[in-house]
């Protein structure tokens, strides 16, 4: 496939890795923000090509992983209400809520549909006027334009039986929260290429400046990721801290203005809880008042349904890059993709799931485990 295959060319990957080895002088900790990048790093073993001075820390950029347990509980509650059809991206179904997950609710008879696009959910609402169709609107800035369009069309078309359970989160406030955390070890960031495709680079400049930390917008294929690391290492070695675009084939400095306008029309900034991390001010999106009629929490009176995070797994520390999955006592034993205890074990982009799939035979120190 064009724009995929050539970015997986081992020879080019090798050349880039050699460039990084040539450039690096000192040890550096670099965080890749997006779960898609983490998955590619594990899948293609890109970290094994890097010189020992470079340590990759995996970031919280997996919306499935950071959606708070309270919102999962609300989705499960909604799915159980009469006449409700809950539409969700497939990844959310096995995320554990306080008592069960959506998949279990579905097996118990709730009408839960997996959709590919929010427009599919809107279409289901129009085709089933006797049902209440609720779309579970999770995601980062990348997904917000699609969800905003479904809402705009619902309003335009007067679709009264459509609503959304909003759990949108934003990347720049999460980067700041990580940088402000005591003991933060991150010295450079690979920013999420598709989030920046939508939002552009502007929001990152004050962060790079304030924390004197380079932020390199990076894509998702092996060549993209090594190019991002190369740019980041070059800045670190030269003592620079700029916002740099290493994913120019998709990211324009100003982002996608059409998409930004649509987000702006439908959503406004809101404080958000992040699973395992806690409340981050102004780190999410909520509906603007003209769209409150589509708010599932208001329509179904779910404001009172609150829940606290279970304390047993290390997801919070893993999501902030303070611990690696194998350091968790549950990893690979009580917690597997089939029986996840924490959200990062659920989605293919969750860091625990990526480690389980590609690194399960390594111990906490990174050496090969003995035994079966």
């Amino acid at each position: 496939m064009k724009y995929v295959d050539e970015y997986r060319d081992p020879e080019v990957v090798w050349q880039l890795a050699a460039q990084i080895r040539r450039l690096v002088r000192r040890p550096w900790n670099i965080m890749e923000i997006c779960g898609g990048q983490t998955h590619a790093i594990m899948r293609f073993s890109l970290d094994s090509l890097l010189p020992p001075q470079i340590r990759l820390i995996h970031g919280p950029g997996c919306p499935v992983c950071v959606t708070p347990v309270e919102i999962v509980d609300r989705a499960i509650e909604l799915a159980g209400r009469p006449r409700v059809m809950l539409c969700s991206f497939g990844d959310m179904l096995r995320v554990p809520g306080s008592r069960k997950d959506l998949f279990t609710a579905k097996s118990e008879g709730a009408d839960i549909r997996v959709v590919y696009s929010p427009l599919d959910a809107l279409r289901l609402a129009q085709e089933n006027p006797d049902r209440e169709v609720v779309f579970f609107a999770i995601g980062f800035e990348t997904t917000a334009p699609a969800n905003a369009m479904a809402l705009r069309l619902a309003k335009q078309r007067g679709v009264k039986n459509f609503s959304v359970l909003v759990a949108h989160v934003l990347v720049p406030p999460a980067i700041e929260a990580i940088l402000q955390a005591p003991g933060c070890q991150v010295q450079g960031f690979l920013a999420a290429g598709h989030v920046c495709t939508v939002m552009g680079l502007e929001a990152y400049r004050p962060i790079a400046e304030k924390y004197r930390t380079p932020i390199v917008v990076t894509g998702f294929e092996p060549v993209d990721i090594l190019q991002g690391i190369l740019c980041c290492v070059r800045q670190l070695e030269q003592g620079r801290h700029e916002v740099e675009n290493a994913y120019g084939r998709s990211v324009r400095p100003e982002g996608n203005r059409h998409a930004q306008r649509q987000i702006e029309e439908v959503f406004q900034l809101a404080d958000r809880k992040w699973r395992g991390i806690g409340l981050i001010p102004a780190s999410g999106l909520e509906l603007r008042p003209p769209y409150w009629e589509f708010d599932a929490v208001r329509r179904f009176g779910l404001e009172g349904l609150v829940a606290e995070e279970p304390a047993e797994c290390l997801a919070g520390q893993v999501l902030q890059g303070q611990k690696r999955p194998p350091e968790c006592a549950l990893f690979g034993l009580q917690c597997t993709p089939e029986h996840p205890q924490g959200a990062p074990m659920v989605s293919a982009e969750g860091v625990c799931a990526a480690y389980y799939r590609y690194r399960r035979n390594l111990d906490a120190a990174g050496s090969l485990k003995k035994g079966p």
Binding site: M1, G35, Q227
Partner: protein, 96 residues
């Protein structure tokens, strides 16, 4: 979750007042919404996320990394003393 797949637009049209198109993803053709890339034309590649094209892929930008590496190869090949170790990079002043 923020997965974006490059697809080649094979058709563009209007449907229910929305610019839409058909994109070919390595042989699989799917309908995509072009509301955020209304300028996209058939033959162009767009990056698609949950059924929406979020950018048009810039071919010149896409070529850059490969031409940069090719240039470096050439430089390495034309270096006079291949056996000697590469010189250390200059030390850069730290901008204040």
């Amino acid at each position: 979750m923020c997965l974006g797949i490059p697809g080649k637009l094979v058709e563009v049209y209007q449907k229910d007042e929305l610019p839409m198109g058909k994109a070919d993803f390595g042989g699989v053709v799917k309908e995509v919404c072009l509301a955020y890339t209304p300028e996209a034309q058939p033959g162009e590649y767009v990056l698609v996320h949950v059924g929406f094209a979020i950018s048009r892929i810039d071919q010149d930008e896409a070529d850059q990394i490969f031409s940069m590496l090719a240039q470096m190869e050439e430089l390495a090949d034309s270096a006079p003393e291949l056996d000697s170790p590469a010189p250390s990079p200059p030390s850069w002043p730290t901008p204040q």
